[in-house]
Amino acid sequence: MESTLDKQQMTEFYKKMLLIRRFEEACGRLYMQGKVRGFLHLYIGEEAIAVGAISALQPDDYVIGHYRDHGHALAKGMDPKVAMAELCGKSTGSSGGKGGSMHLFDSARNFMGGHAIVGGQMPIAAGLALASKYKKEDRVTICFFGDGAVNQGEFHETLNLASVWKLPILFLLENNLYGMGTHVDRSRAGGRHIYETASAYDIPGVQIDGMDVLGVNECVSEAVKSIRKGKGPHFVEAMCYRYRGHSMADPTMYRERNEAEELGIKDPIDSLKNFMVQFNVASEEEFIEIDSAVGAQISDAVQFAEDSPAPEMDAMYTNVYA
């Protein structure tokens, strides 16, 4: 794990990843208590991708992704209070309790959702990038999607259009090996090297370790630089692992309990911490501080969500139209 990053940045990465991890753990608890409902998809184990990639962006840049969206939203700067309130269906939530876990949005931070139809966010991402190009802004759009989404027709239509029109967009594939219970080897021709598909669209593609936040950040920073130079779309396949089931409802009968070990999966948060300690970037004490600070942030978020009022019944009728 090599890097030219300074302590401050590494510490930032650590804080953000830990924030997401603790946030997700809290969601899981609230779900068990019946306070978070519907489908809940946790990002646990994949934190390095959202944090490493989104840290390479400017506030103006667009981020859009799928329903496993808490990590991306928080990494883009969404207030954990507001996110947690949304998951609890409260009026103080990002969508006043009308969107839920799969549909987080934060217009102020250019977090464009939170889309629950597999592959559905990809054409929209092309449109965001098209707008930036049309307006001659130098914004970049990062479109997150999973290995399962690769098999949707929209993946194909979007990569082709983005390439033909040289759109300023980064396609960031989170290959966690599974689409629900279906392993990529069974769903995708060449399931372990999807990045090669990008070349079919004349888009440069690379595969990286999605459990290494520093590596992700370096790679995405490079890609974003090239995109800003007007070089058109880039494609990054981040190999990772989904620790939990697809959703809280998934008993994960389709894989071995010890698969993660078998694959030698290293936890992204521990890895960074060990690296920082090993190279004396930060001390145990500092981590203890960070951990308790993050812990407090999360319990505040939960408290805020629980204390917030439910939406008025009339909210049902608002914003159907602009």
């Binding site: 409902r37 519907g38 489908f39 949304e86 269906g89 409260k90 969508s95 309790g97 009308k98 969107g99 839920g100 876990s101 799969m102 549909h103 889309h115 629950a116 139809i117 597999v118 592959g119 399962g148 989404a149 098999n151 949707q152 027709g153 929209e154 689409g179 629900m180 219970g181 279906t182 069974r186 769903s187 995708r188 998934d250 009968m253 389709y254 439910a310 939406p311 019944m313 909210a315 049902m316 009728y317 159907v320």
Partner: protein, 324 residues
């Protein structure tokens, strides 16, 4: 006579169907995962990967491959995880499956059963809580089944498997756990035959899928008021059983249609206008409709519940329309 939940009735129907070698199943996570709603749990071990085929997340080719293998003489059962996702495959259903018999003037038929899960109520929000059966029911060349009980699900599915046309078979997610009696002896339920789930003389309540149970709830509440509602469960939308509804309304002279999808543009409009066309003089008042509120489904539980027809709303519609 066995008692089982709707999930088990569908699984039973599928196992019966799979006795025919021409039958196989395709869909997302129906195998190793056991089905998103656990309907096909165990099937992969029982029947093997050649017949229980996990697919990529590619609804268009899932349905299209079903159409093609049906053209080639097989009898595929494809599963679309939910009807919300059928929108990415709707072109294959409407412009292909439904058209090939007609466009080939009978040279080909498409004996394809498309199973899918419909309805809201699970706090899954706007993209995951819809009911599009009414759209499919407007398409010549398709048939649409919307069972409300384990008994109906099994009987209708047996009929679907003997039909040589493309059929959309919509199971309501909130009904999978519903218990009901299922005879041990073989029976089938023809399409286009509604079921009178409860008899009554004062008003006819027409419903389908989960709304049948809301209708029964409303009927029970009416009984407390000394009014007797006849609950007609359509069971299939295309074809739909006009005659049974007409007979009932000629007796009750009052009628309300209840459905879960958005009221505006729902199938309730088809039923209501047909009834007033054919039984105008038998009506004590207009045909009433109760449907989903015309908004996308909100995530919040209280809000979502308010968008879905309830027995209370049915009672109110009846009172407002007929003063009973």
């Amino acid at each position: 006579m066995a008692e089982m939940i709707l999930r088990e009735a569908v699984a039973k129907a599928l196992r019966e169907a799979l006795e025919d070698e021409r039958v196989f199943m395709m869909g997302e996570d129906i195998g190793a995962y056991g089905g998103a709603y656990a309907v096909t749990r165990g099937f992969l071990d029982e029947y093997g990967a050649e017949r229980i085929m996990d697919t990529p997340i590619s609804e268009s080719v899932i349905v299209g491959a079903g159409v093609g293998s049906a053209l080639a003489g097989l009898k595929p059962i494809v599963e679309l995880m939910t009807i919300n996702f059928s929108l990415v495959a709707i072109d294959q259903i409407v412009n292909h499956a439904a058209k090939l018999s007609y466009m080939s003037d009978g040279q080909f038929s498409v004996p394809l059963v498309i199973r899918t899960v419909t309805g809201g109520g699970g706090q899954l929000a706007a993209t995951h809580s819809q009911s599009f059966e009414n759209w499919y029911a407007s398409v010549p060349g398709l048939k649409v089944a919307v069972p409300a009980t384990p008994y109906d699900a099994l009987g209708l599915f047996r009929t679907a498997m003997k039909d040589d046309n493309p059929i959309l078979f919509a199971e309501h997610s909130l009904l999978y756990g519903l218990r009901g009696d299922v005879p041990d002896d073989w029976y089938e339920i023809p399409f286009g035959e509604a079921d009178i789930k409860r008899e009554g003389d004062d008003i006819t309540i027409v419903a389908y899928s989960r709304m049948t149970h809301i209708a029964l709830e409303a009927a029970a509440m009416l009984e407390a008021k000394g009014r007797y509602a006849e609950v007609v469960d359509l069971r299939t939308l295309r074809p739909w059983d006009k005659q049974t509804v007409l007979q009932s309304v000629r007796k009750t002279n009052r009628i309300v249609v209840v459905e879960e999808t958005w009221r505006t543009g729902g199938f309730g409009g088809e039923i209501a206008s047909t009834i007033q066309e054919e039984a105008f003089d038998d009506l004590d008042g207009p045909v009433a409709r109760v449907g989903g509120i015309d908004v996308p489904a909100p995530y919040n539980g209280a809000l979502e519940a308010a968008t879905i027809p309830s027995a209370q709303r049915v009672i109110k519609a009846i009172a407002d329309t007929y003063g009973i």
